[in-house]
């Protein structure tokens, strides 16, 4: 049997820097654990635009469809701010999500013990926090038509369409309930059913799917209240299920609760391929961080934890995923910190590569 295949798309900004550390981790699993991957690398975002004039070439898109998993770094940067909408770095990322049909975006918001002090929230509110946000990723206002800027009378109007079919809601909901079954068996679904008909349909379909999971406790919350509750008492949640746009905002809010955005991975999963593995892309939640690009300051942990999610969700290597996560916890417990994790002035930050060294040593 051939090795599983990985397509690495480092992207822009700190993407290539953090991805270099992931490659070292991948190599370690090959050498020490006999877990070999066929790794190829390609361009996405601004880097792809610079090379090909678009943020994702058709060739790269085709490769992404063929591999067992894609690892993506980050896209975007001020250099590309004035590009036409259709050429912006983000369009490359959105094309991957849409064409690979990665409908279920898993965003854990976890507070690492060693870092609980680092949150802007009080320690007792966030210590031990472990939420999983399931964000629908291929539909809603991100992709709905009609969309655009149109003339109307003597002015222009900007239009986007929020749009969800029952089957789109259903498959996202099912993935949230499946996850909840392996966790604390609680799902909280968030929408604005008091204002939006798409939210009414959302709630109805989620209620229907819930019947298949009688062990899971389901609740519904308006998304505005959801944002409040995340800030007030985030530990009340286990799995949060929400749509593409609410998920974008609520997951960033949840991520920031942990105080360590440079720590948070994500998985975007689609339907099973012929080999049984889901279509999958893994990426850190943080962005391309143009302000620190090229300075060796970036925290590679979110990207390395994204690879741990790949081990777990694409390759069924649960023990190896645990091993990698444990190594990272150890390094943090030992006090190794990149600049983003430094609360007090006294401690000396390590570089991106030094953090990689420490993680390899802990492995």
């Amino acid at each position: 049997m051939s090795n599983p295949s990985l397509l690495i798309l480092p992207g822009d900004g700190i993407g290539p820097e953090v991805m270099a550390e992931v490659r070292r981790v991948i190599d370690w699993f090959g050498e020490k654990r006999g877990l070999h991957f066929d790794v190829s690398e390609d361009l996405v975002g601004g880097a792809a635009y610079d090379a090909h004039g678009k943020p994702l070439s058709d060739e790269t898109m085709a490769k992404a469809q063929e591999v067992d998993a894609v690892l993506l770094g980050a896209v975007g940067g001020p250099k590309y701010d004035d590009l036409d909408f259709s050429l912006k770095p983000e369009r490359g990322l959105l094309r991957l999500r849409k064409e690979m049909d990665l409908y279920s975006n898993l965003r854990p918001a976890q507070c690492f013990d060693a870092l609980a002090d680092f949150s802007s929230l009080k320690k007792d509110i966030v210590a031990g926090l472990d939420i999983m946000i399931v964000r629908e990723l291929t539909s809603g206002v991100y992709f709905g038509e009609p969309r655009g800027i149109f003339e109307e009378g003597n002015e222009r109007v900007g239009i986007n369409t929020q749009r969800y079919t029952e089957s789109e809601i259903e498959r996202a909901a099912r993935s949230a309930f499946e996850l909840a079954m392996r966790r604390n068996k609680k799902v909280c679904s968030m929408e604005k059913a008091n204002v939006m008909e798409s939210g009414i349909l959302w709630r109805e379909v989620v209620d229907r799917v819930a019947k298949e999971y009688p062990e899971v406790e389901l609740s519904h919350m308006y998304a505005d209240n959801g944002a409040m509750q995340l800030v007030r008492a985030p530990k009340q949640f286990d799995v949060i299920l929400t749509d593409n746009l609410f998920g974008d905002i609520l997951s960033d809010c949840a991520a920031m609760l942990t105080g360590s955005l440079g720590m948070l991975p994500s998985a975007s999963l689609g339907a099973p391929m012929a080999n049984g593995r889901p279509k999958a892309m893994y990426e850190p939640v943080h962005g391309s961080a143009p302000d620190i690009t090229g300075q060796g300051k970036a925290n590679p942990i979110a990207c390395i934890l994204s690879f741990a999610m790949a081990l777990r969700y694409s390759f069924d290597q649960l023990e190896e995923a645990d091993r990698l996560e444990a190594a990272i916890e150890k390094v943090l417990a030992d006090g190794v910190r990149t600049g983003d994790l430094l609360a007090d002035e006294g401690v000396q930050p390590v570089s991106t590569t030094e953090m990689g060294d420490a993680i390899l040593a802990a492995l």
Copy 2:
């Protein structure tokens, strides 16, 4: 000259309880400060549905159009959960906003010194916080057409439309810049221009309006990053300008930072009427709180501060507004607390009426 007119719509849940305290405050201003109002009272939300079979009667709507300002308590409650969308309590509120054309929703997120400990955020992150969120309130996905649940093939699809014209964006932006001129001269505009064309138009129009206010420093932020930054370092903001849906979520997030939702008022302003006053409705940010309804536990401060905003924005009584706000700060500094403001067990909470008494005494 006749007295200015106020229409009071207590609504549902704790609405009537907190509004009773506002009426006492209004009476005080009449007796002691010679500020007389012609006050009438009517129904909205579930209360209106119970009486007339709809959440706002045409007669009440007509009255709201005629008065100088509307004061609203809160709408909604579990009793009305199964009503048809068009009959839900929220529709009464949304009809008022839309037909009065209240396009500029001002939501201050202020942390009261006496309550800084009460936030789930660390004290130094929120102490002294003073943000003003300007939320566009009459357009966007709340009102855009087409909307509804439609058959499509053999399933249903839920559709809502995000829609902004240049003039809608312009007037909301102008109101944010005007406010910023009277504050710290900073506006941060939030949208998802990286994903939504309506956000691109939003950004463009805001940039254009900004040219009329060269003294104001304008920045743009994606709404997901906005949610993060609110949690990470809220004091970086002065005025935040955003659309109806993002404003709903971001303002609730900001409100919760202060830890005292029962403290936060809002003003919804429209175009000037013949007498020069803007169309206006004032309401607390909190909801109808069915869990504590009828128990005399509700905090009336948000609703009383909404009346203070009315004094300021509708009646140009800046000194009287300051007087009322100072009385509330004094009461808080004296340690008077309703149940929602109690961090530690030792202190005895006061009732809604007792809080009203304390505020009248401080006046």
